[in-house]
């Protein structure tokens, strides 16, 4: 078994267009959620989200690329560029042949679907652009990353709703750990903030109209976000030989399925995923200093997640910190685990724990240290990142300070 380290990180989300900007916003407990701005927003009941502003495809991509890149692909390529440049890795020869891209997304090119349905159904057009299919397909982002960086090994897209990125990164980790690939580009992205994307979520009646307040007694639902997080997972000796900077080590993962309900979370499924990640990594539970929670801000998730943490960690649950950064960047659905992994990297490398902002009232059913409202300095050795999806599909990653 090989050791696996992270040597590059990139992102774009409502908090910033890069990792340093996102870290700064998380340290300051800034909120990236605001009024949504897109066509027909006046016909929505939910009008807030963690939208990426000031991102222009023009200038970043040429005309031919723009006809092929949905917004979720644009986000992915922007984050991948930052991650791969930071890693300073070049994929040539055997490295290129064996390295690949595993990314998560729940919806893929949602705005491409939305725009073209509008065009044929509402505007009555009978012809669509020839690239609609290659633009909207869920694997478009992974494919464009492989083309851009000469990654010729195993590449694919994982789609498990809100756990997509964690399942993708778990898969990439397993491939590097087994020796199958010297490095993998991994993470995920989502861009559902368009009329149809938000309208679909409204239907479930789980969205908040005003704010995402995870763990707070007065929480009233989730808030959508958008963006991408992309990382370079690299075999430890390979990274050392190149003299690469190591951000942290990925030490284990586990996946579980609730096998119970299509939307309601299960304490047992979540607990099995966390306990499984600790066992896979060979970590004692009292070594865990920080958990980046799934923490959606819904009534159901937050109390179930806290109960699962209490079950897995026993008395140590009261010593560890757990926060939900969704309060700041919103829920990026299939991309969320990737952006949230950044909070784990910041905790391990910089000793700064990102807060749960919007926290107003303690909830006895969420009686853990949720790092309310203000970031905290603390040196920790091990962090977990949780993702629990609709459909009852869970994936948890374990990371260690290097």
């Amino acid at each position: 078994m090989k050791r696996v380290v992270i040597t590059g990180a990139g992102t774009i989300n409502a908090l910033g267009h890069s990792v340093p900007d996102t870290f700064e916003a998380m340290r300051e407990g800034r909120c990236g959620i605001g009024e949504l701005d897109f066509r027909d927003v006046d016909r929505l009941t939910i009008k807030i989200g963690g939208q990426v502003h000031g991102f222009e495809a023009e200038g970043r991509f040429n005309r031919q690329q723009m006809t092929l890149y949905d917004r979720f692909t644009q986000f992915t390529l922007t984050a991948a560029k930052e991650a791969i440049e930071q890693a300073g890795i070049e994929f040539i020869g055997d490295d290129a042949a064996r390295s690949g891209v595993v990314l998560g997304t729940a919806g893929g090119g949602v705005s491409t679907w939305d725009d073209n349905y509008r065009s044929v159904y509402e505007d009555g057009k009978n012809r669509v652009h020839p690239f609609v299919v290659p633009k909207l397909m869920n694997n478009a982002a992974a494919s464009h990353v492989s083309m851009e960086y000469n990654l010729k090994g195993p590449s694919f897209t994982v789609s498990t709703a809100c756990a997509s990125s964690n399942h993708a990164m778990a898969q990439a980790f397993a491939m590097v750990r087994s020796g199958m690939a010297p490095a993998m580009v991994t993470g995920g992205s989502e861009s559902m903030l368009c009329f149809g994307g938000v309208k679909a979520w409204e239907g479930l009646r789980v969205m908040s109209k005003d704010a995402c307040r995870p763990f707070s007694a007065n929480r009233n639902g989730m808030v959508q976000g958008e963006g991408a997080g992309v990382f370079v997972f690299e075999e430890y000796e390979h990274a050392r030989k190149r003299g690469a900077e190591i951000l942290c080590e990925v030490v284990g993962y586990a996946m579980s399925s609730d096998a119970s309900d299509i939307v309601m979370p299960s304490k047992q499924g979540a607990a099995r995923a966390m306990a499984g990640a600790l066992a896979d990594a060979g970590i004692n539970r009292d070594e865990v200093g920080y958990i980046n929670a799934h923490g959606t801000g819904t009534a159901a998730n937050d109390k179930t997640e806290c109960a699962a943490v209490a079950d897995v960690f026993g008395p140590h649950a009261d010593n560890l910190m757990i926060s939900s950064t969704k309060s700041m960047h919103g829920h990026l659905i299939g991309g969320t685990g990737a952006v949230e992994l950044l909070a784990c990297i910041m905790a391990l490398r910089d000793g700064v724990i990102a807060p749960t902002i919007g926290y107003e009232e303690p909830d006895p059913e969420c009686a853990l240290d949720v790092v309310p409202n203000v970031a905290r300095e603390a040196q920790i050795d091990v962090a977990l990142s949780n993702a629990f999806a609709f459909g009852g599909l869970n994936a948890v990653l374990a990371l260690r300070r290097v």
Binding site: R205, N220, V263, A299
Partner: protein
């Protein structure tokens, strides 16, 4: 059909029961309607009467719409329908 009869028939369909088995003092729990069934019932009622019901699954008790039993739901809908007409 009165508002009451229409609402009862929607709820009965969701619960897979005959309308005669749904009484005004039945709770949704009595009828075996879970959270997804509730959201579906609300959607069907909104479509039937062309109204918007202020309901958030995260805070059902705080929503401005009482779902404690069938009679409360009917009263809430009658109010929304009359507000729409006025």
């Amino acid at each position: 059909m009165s508002i009451q009869d229409k609402v009862i028939s929607i709820i009965a369909e969701q619960a897979v029961l005959e309308p005669s088995d749904v009484s005004p003092d039945s709770t949704l729990e009595d009828l075996g309607i879970d959270s997804l069934g509730l959201v579906e019932s609300i959607f069907a009622i909104e479509e039937e009467f062309d109204i918007t019901i202020p309901f958030n699954a995260n805070e059902p008790e705080q929503s401005d719409f009482d779902i404690s039993n069938v009679a409360a739901i009917i009263a809430g809908i009658e109010k929304l329908v009359s507000e729409k007409a006025s």
